[in-house]
Every structure is written in structure tokens, then in C-alpha cells.
Symmetry: C3
Subunit: 383 residues, 3 copies
């Protein structure tokens, strides 16, 4: 689709994809089976509805989110699908081997396996958001598989050390920083005019708005997919409403001409959902305040931080994932920590709780930075 | 986005939005709490699916419905989101204070609260459909909050006087007439060429078709969201199918060149859903007949009434909400009345039933006309 | 919309549609009633969610799938809706008369009636995919009603002879071959430049991609809508992921310039869902292998078979439904047969099973070819 790849590169992507695909089928033949056909119909339908919402967000939401770039309309959607379709298969295998408690080598597919696999795929799509327009299809494919591998290993490490899971936080923080690091390494080694590719027009903008809207509308499902207490959906809903108002107001306020910026808004209205999903307060006004702060930081990040990152650190973040996912993600995690600490009465328990959770954040950040740099360096080989 | 507002106005919208938003957060902190986290998971998921459909209709459906206007593509979607995000918060508070039976001042958020809030927001979006292109963002924001206030007060009044609720009828009739009155007052005081803004092209038309399709597909959920007997969804489904066929045929038939009109169709195929949702007959052929009549009236309204209203009464109704919501709404209400009256055997009961229900309609119409005029007059101040 | 129809023709479509619509309402008045209003709420909501997914696929998915054709953007969506809205009403009546076991003449509408009706409508939309751009609205309307009639009669015949249903297989194979035959007859009698109408641009392509994505995302619901064991959704999900990767790789591999073809991909990524829905293996790796083969055949079919069919047999298949539905459908049916035969131990039973199922396929193919040719010939009269 994008016309600049050498023919030699074009010829490399299809065989790679087919070889990977056939290997996945062989691995599935040995290790994966479906559950009992007699499984309760009722229960299935409930978890299916939840899975469906996540499915729509990953394939439609993240796919169309980047279609605002004029030159990347179809290729954005197409490659997102390719990457996600590969990633869910790979993630099903990795999750099954590393994170399932059962001792046997047989992986049994349940609705939860699919939701977990889609969470991994969405972290790969986040990482892809940072490198959009700087990579060829072969690089995208390899990068996404390496990101999924890193993501699952990070989860496994945290689970082994702290007996806890933190997939929603990891999803946003790991995926973003991994992508930004890869982008940084790739940026330094290329020398092309990057800005031409960030152009957008109002029609592509409407397509991207569709993707954004589906993410926005289904985010309560996303946040409640992995937790037991479903009422977190209320807080996410309110937080998203607040961050919509805040993002629009701040975008207009911080512009010299008083106009809202389409791209800022599309990112920043989601910031509340990111932060609330990690903070899980279950108190409406707290969720709303977190949504307010997250959208404020995200919009200001788009206005001031994005350009600064490019000029000072040579980090080019095409879709601005740093503002939409990493900053609200860390904000949400700190809010989570603070709220729990205030509620704990025993100082010893509180200190251990704080140290554990700061370690989890530091491990996730370090893993993502190191693996992102390593991946970026490896990808130069297939340029 | 729209380039004609004075800079002074631009500087007014963001502070207003932020001040309102912070006030809402403070009010939520004092008065709103979430339900019990241990609430039945099963029940939650069922009502969540219903809420989700309404949510998609309000934010995606009504947002993209007006995107057929070339100059209002993104701004239509953007402002719809801003207005709806504000309206749901305000409606949650108002509904909680006025319409909940519990004596305490604490509002407990449930799925039903969110559905009720979205119903209020959609009535505000209907009103907005009549004034599209004649208002600035500050006016839209204030108008939507006044519409929600009026809508909830009207509901509260009817509930106090007649011990009954009629939110679906009110939604269509109150919202539309409120918007049309506001539009009328604003139209008389401005003097700009209105018609230029109603241009549409076929590409924007496809976006609007998306919005329409989501409304059309999910309308059965909308109508069954507030009633106990879910089988009303069957009638709505059949009625929508009939009104689709009727709207297309009548649009082609009433055109001199025999062509269907994109804008007429997008409005009129929904007319059956509006009327059936109010008539609630639960008899397939009756719902289909109502759908046929509603689509007929709506399409003829677009062809003949809309221009007449503009020239004779100086009422400019950008999206034609009068044809899509008010006329089918009143038709559905009369059908509802008639069907119940025929089934009642006792004359005394029948007369009281008829008088009560005609009073409800008259109160709703009067309230919407008066409050709409009042709102329009107030909005001239912030022009 | 399309400007080439004679005025005389324009004047014919609306009256035909209105007469048909009024007749349907009269038939519904005599024969159709809704179920018990007290029907279990819980059960309704579960089947409603399933119906909803099929509903979205039929109206949004199939409607927007053909919008990639520049000249057929809105008319494709509009006529798809018209045809589908007619077809569901007609199919509800026919299914009720022929396929319901109850002896009375009263048809009772349930969620299953609507799902069955939508399956019929989607087979009519498939048939329409083959003739897109070669027919006028009157022809489309008549063709869709004849297709639905043929489809239901074929189902009834198979049910009477073999006491078994095979709606998913029939849907893909019958609909496609019916449409292709109609297209063949119509093609031979017209002489206009067909190729101009297959142009597409990347913006229309994005709209079509939306339709495709909704089909792709909801296909697991579609396949599990009619079967008792819902776990078939897992296999469909995996098969679709595999066929996405395969279709993209094979499309790029078989192109001289190494580019993926938007139209090929939009068709072929669905092939896995078609084949798996018929094969129903419930073994992950088998479903994945079937998805791989189906996407391979479909993509190669688009590259080589489509042009060959046009030049050698004068069969013009606008949307390529032969590659997307018929070939993967037959592949899936053969896989179904093979897997069951291997599992059967008794030779007599196995032989009878094989003969029965091959007869079902042959009856479906013959019926569709004969009825398609007959329909095409009849439609020449209303040209």
C-alpha cells in the first residue's frame, strides 16, 4: 500500500506471515483444545457479551483510531488487523504456557483466554501507534510478536514475585513505553521528513472519530472485563464523560485561535477511561476527579509535550500514545496506590503494600524500556 | 471549528465548560454514591447490555446523524459528544433529586440511572437537531442544560399529578418542540443565509447513514429499555422494517424526478420506531400499520411541511426533527390512547383515562413550547 | 440515485413496494401474533443479544460491504436496506408456514423467528452481491423475494426428505449460486461496459472496510446463533484470525507488484468464518486449518478465477461472492462430511450418512442453479 518499500521487502512479508501462521497452527494442534461442549449456555453468553465488547474495541477501535493520517487510512486498518490477528494467536499460546495455573501442557480455550489474548493484542497495537509511518510490514509484524512476548513475560515475572496480576496497568504503560522506545531507536537511524505523514483531513478525521467513539463507548466494558466487581463500569462511564468535557475545553483554551484540535480530542477524551480502569476507586466523585486530571494532562501533553519530546529527545510518537496511555496510566496507578494507603491502618502493611506496588511499576517501566530498545535495534536489521 | 464566531465568544466556552464540570464533580461528591459492589453479577450484565445499546444510540447514532451537513461533519460529532457528556451528568443529578422515591438526599447510581440519564441526553440532542448551524458552542451548552432541566421538571410534574411516567413520549415530543421553538426565536433575530449550511455530499451522507443505521438497528433495545415487557422489541423491529420500505417508496413517489432523497430517508425510516415505542400495542400488524403511517407522514413532512414551516412561520428545522420525532410521536400517542380506549369496557374509566392522557400530552406540549421560547430568548443574550 | 433508469421504471418501483408492503401487513394481520408477554425476561435478553449481532451483520455488514464501488455508495446501502426489510417480512411468513412444526395456521413470533428471517435476508443480500450494478430497483426487489422463496422451499424440501436442517450451508451456497446464475442470464442480454462500475477509491474502501469489520467481528455470533453448542464460537474466532493473515499474505504474494488488494482482502478474510460455520469441528487446529485453506482458495479465486469466469463463461460477479461464500462453503461442507465419516465406525451408517449429505448438497446446488436461471429470465421482462 505505502509505495516506498523496496521490492525485496515486499517479497519478504508474505512468506514470513505464512511460515508464522503454519507454525501457530502446528503449535495449536499439539497444545490447545476447546472446553466441554456441554458447558453452561447461560454463563457462556454472559462472558461472550463481555468478550464481544473488547473484541470490537481492539479490532475496530484501535484499527480506525490511526486512520486520521491521510496516507495511512487503509493501511492502518489493514495492518492493525494483521498484527492483531497474529498477536491473539501468539498470546493465547504464551498466556497458556506461562500464566495458567494448571500443571498439564494442554491449554484449554475459554472466553477468558480470548479476552486475555485480546488484552495482549491491544498492548501491541498501542506500541504500533507510536511507530506508525516509520516501519515496514515486516518490522510491524516482528515488533508486535516481540511486544506480546515481552508483555507476557513481564506479567509472569510480576505474578511470580508478587502473586498479583496488573494487566490493565501493564497494558497501558508497558505497551506505550515499548513503542516509544522502538520509535526512538528507529527515528535516530532514519532520516526522512516525518511531518508530512502526520497530515490529516476532516474526512479521515471522521473515520478516526468512529474508531475513537467505539473505544469511548465500550471502555466501561473493557475496564470491567477483568475484574470481579462489575460496578467499576459506573465510574468509568462518569470519568469518560468528565474527560470529554475537559479535553474539549482545555484543547480550545490552550489554542491561540481558540479552536479545538481534532487529534488532541480523539486522544484525550479516552484518558479518563485509562486512568479510572487502573485506579478502581468505585466512588463516583473520585473517578470523575481522576478523569478530569487525566484529560487535562493528556491534552496539555498533546499541546506542549509531544513537540518537546521530538525536538529535545528525538522521540517521535505518531499517535501520541504517551499522552493518551502512559501518563494517564501512571496517574491512575498512583491514585490507586494513594487511595489504598489512606484506607490501610496498619503502617507495616501499608509500607509493604506501597513498596510492592512501586516495584511492580518500576519493573514494568524498566522491562518496557529495555525490551523496546532491544526490539528497535533488532528491527534496523530488517529495514 | 466553524470559523465565524468572534474570538470573544471562543474564549467564553472553555471557562464555562470547566466551571460547570467542576461544579458537577462537587455535587457528585456530596450527593452520589455507587451501589453495593457485591450486587448480583448476572443481573448487572443483563441490564448492562441494554444500557450499552442505548449508549451507542445516543453517542454514535445522534452524533453522526447530523454529519450529513458538509460544514458540520466533525463539529456535529464533537459538539454532540460535549453536549451529551454534560447532559448525562446533569440529568443524573436532577433525576436523582426529583424522580427517585427514596427520601434521603443520597443518589445511588444503578444501571437504570444511567439509562434514564441517557434518555434525557437524547432529548437534548433532538432539540439540538433543530438549531444545528444557528448557534455557537456556548448557546448549545446552555440550551442543552436548560432542555434537560425542563424535561425532568415536566416528567416530575406529570408524575406528581397523574402518578404515571411517559418518558418515551416526552422524549420525542418535548425535545422536538423545545428545539423548534428555540430555533424559531433565534431565527427571527438573526439574518444570515441559512440554506448554504444545509448542503450535503454523498460522502458525508454515508457517515450520516452510519449513525442512522445504528439508531435503526438498536431502536428495539431503546423502546424495550424502559418497559417491563420486553416483547415490545418484536413490534418495533417489524415497524421499522415497514417504515423503511414506506419511506423509500414515498420519497421516490413524491419526487418529480423519481429519486429517493438521502436526507428524507435517513429521517423517515426511523419514524416507525418512534411511533411504535409510544403506542406499545404488542400486536404485530398494528405495529406495522403504525410504522406505515408514521413513515408516510414523516416523508411527506420532509417534502412539503419543512419548506412551508420555513416560509410561513419562519421556523427553520435543520435536521427535520419535527417530521421524524414530533409527528410520529403524537401519532403513536394517539394510537396508544385509541387502542386502550377500545379495550376498556367501563365508560367512566375510559373517560378518565382519555382525559388524563390528553392532559399529559397538553402539559408536555405547553411546557416545551413555553420553555423553548424562554430558552431561545435567553440565548440571544450570549450571541 | 443511479441516473440511467428510464422514468417509466422509476414510476414502477414505489407502487410495487407499497402494494407488497400493504399485502404483507394484511397477511401479518391474519396469521402472525407475538408470544406471551410474561415470557421469561432472562431468556429473552440472552437470545436478544444473539439476534442483535446477526441483525448488525445483515443490515450494517452486508449493506456497507459493497459500498467500495464509487458509484454505488449510498445506493448500495439504501437498496440493501430496502431489500432486507422486505425479505425479513416475507421470510417470517414463509418460514412460519413451511418450517414450523405446529399444525395451526397461526405464526407465533419469537426471537428465533427473527434470526431465521435474517438468515434468509442475508442469503438474498449475497445473491444481490453478484448482480450489483446490473439491475434496477424493481429487479432487485423481485429477485430478492424470489430468492427468499427458493431458499425456504429448498430448506423445506431438505427437511422433508432428510429430517435435518442445514441453513448455514444453504445460506452460503444457495444464495451465491442463485445470484451468479441470475447475473449470468442478465449479463448475456445486456451490452454495457461493466468494468467502469467496479472502480473504487480508498475512501469508499474505508466504508466497505467498516462493513467487513462488523461482519468479521460478529461472525462467531452468526455461526453460533443456530447451533446448540455455543463453543463453536471459539473455532470461528481462531479460523477468522488465520484467514486474515492468510488472505493478506496470499494477496500480496500473488500480486506482481507485491501489494495487497483491498477488495480481495475484504472478501477473503471472511472465508474462514464461512467454512468453519459449516464444518463445526470444535477442534481448534482443525478450524484453523480450514480457515487457512478457505482464505487461500478465496484469495486465489479473486486473483485468477473471477476474470476467468467473466471471459470464459460470461459470468460477472460484482462482489466476488463465488470466492467468498460458495467455494469456502463447499470446502467447509466437505470438511464436515469427512470429519464425521472418520469418526463413524459402522460402515453402513457411514455410507448412508455420506449419501444423504451429498444429496443435500446436490439438491441445494441444483435448486439454486435452476431457480437462479429462471429468476434471471423473468427479470429481463422488467428491464
Amino acid at each position: 500500500m505505502a509505495p516506498r518499500y523496496a521490492p525485496s521487502l515486499r517479497s519478504r512479508m508474505p512468506p514470513l506471515a505464512i511460515v508464522l501462521q503454519v507454525s501457530f497452527i502446528v503449535l495449536f494442534a499439539f497444545f490447545v483444545e476447546t472446553g466441554d461442549p456441554e458447558e453452561g449456555d447461560e454463563k457462556f453468553i454472559n462472558s461472550y457479551a463481555n468478550f464481544q465488547d473488547v473484541h470490537v474495541m481492539v479490532f475496530l477501535g484501535f484499527g480506525f483510531l490511526a486512520s486520521f493520517l491521510v496516507r495511512y487510512g487503509f493501511s492502518s486498518v489493514g495492518f492493525s488487523m494483521l498484527v492483531a490477528a497474529m498477536a491473539v494467536q501468539w498470546a493465547t499460546l504464551l498466556n497458556g504456557f506461562l500464566l495458567t495455573s494448571s500443571p498439564s501442557w494442554k491449554i484449554r480455550i475459554k472466553m477468558k483466554s480470548l479476552v486475555d489474548a485480546e488484552i495482549c493484542a491491544s498492548s501491541a497495537l498501542l506500541a504500533m501507534g507510536a511507530v506508525h509511518g516509520k516501519t515496514n510490514p515486516v518490522q510491524l509484524l516482528l515488533m508486535s510478536l516481540m511486544e506480546v512476548t515481552g508483555f507476557v513475560i513481564n506479567q509472569w515475572l510480576i505474578h511470580s514475585l508478587f502473586k498479583t496480576m496488573s494487566s490493565i496497568m501493564s497494558l497501558h504503560v508497558f505497551g506505550t513505553l515499548f513503542g516509544v522506545m522502538t520509535s526512538w531507536v528507529l527515528y535516530r537511524t532514519e532520516n526522512m521528513p516525518k511531518h508530512e505523514k502526520e497530515k490529516f483531513d476532516s474526512k479521515s478525521g471522521l473515520f478516526a472519530m468512529f474508531g475513537t467513539l467505539f473505544l469511548w463507548m465500550f471502555w466501561p466494558s473493557f475496564n470491567s472485563a477483568l475484574v470481579k466487581y462489575k460496578i467499576i463500569a459506573y465510574g468509568t462511564y462518569l470519568s469518560l464523560a468528565v474527560s470529554t468535557v475537559t479535553a474539549m475545553a482545555v484543547s480550545a483554551l490552550s489554542s491561540p485561535t481558540g479552536k479545538m484540535n481534532l487529534v488532541h480530542i480523539q486522544g484525550s477524551i479516552l484518558a479518563g477511561g485509562v486512568a479510572t480502569g487502573i485506579a478502581v476507586t468505585a466512588v463516583p466523585w473520585m473517578d470523575m476527579t481522576i478523569g478530569f486530571c487525566a484529560a487535562l494532562l493528556a491534552t496539555l501533553g498533546f499541546r506542549y509535550l509531544k513537540g518537546h519530546m521530538l525536538h529535545a529527545f528525538e522521540i517521535h510518537d505518531t499517535r501520541g500514545v504517551l499522552n493518551v496511555h502512559a501518563i494517564p496510566g501512571i496517574l491512575g496507578y498512583l491514585a490507586y496506590l494513594l487511595i489504598r494507603l489512606v484506607r490501610l491502618e496498619d503502617t507495616t502493611v501499608a509500607v509493604r503494600f506501597a513498596v510492592n506496588h512501586i516495584c511492580i511499576l518500576l519493573i514494568t517501566v524498566s522491562m518496557s524500556l529495555v525490551l523496546g530498545m532491544f526490539t528497535g535495534t533488532s528491527l534496523i536489521a530488517v529495514q
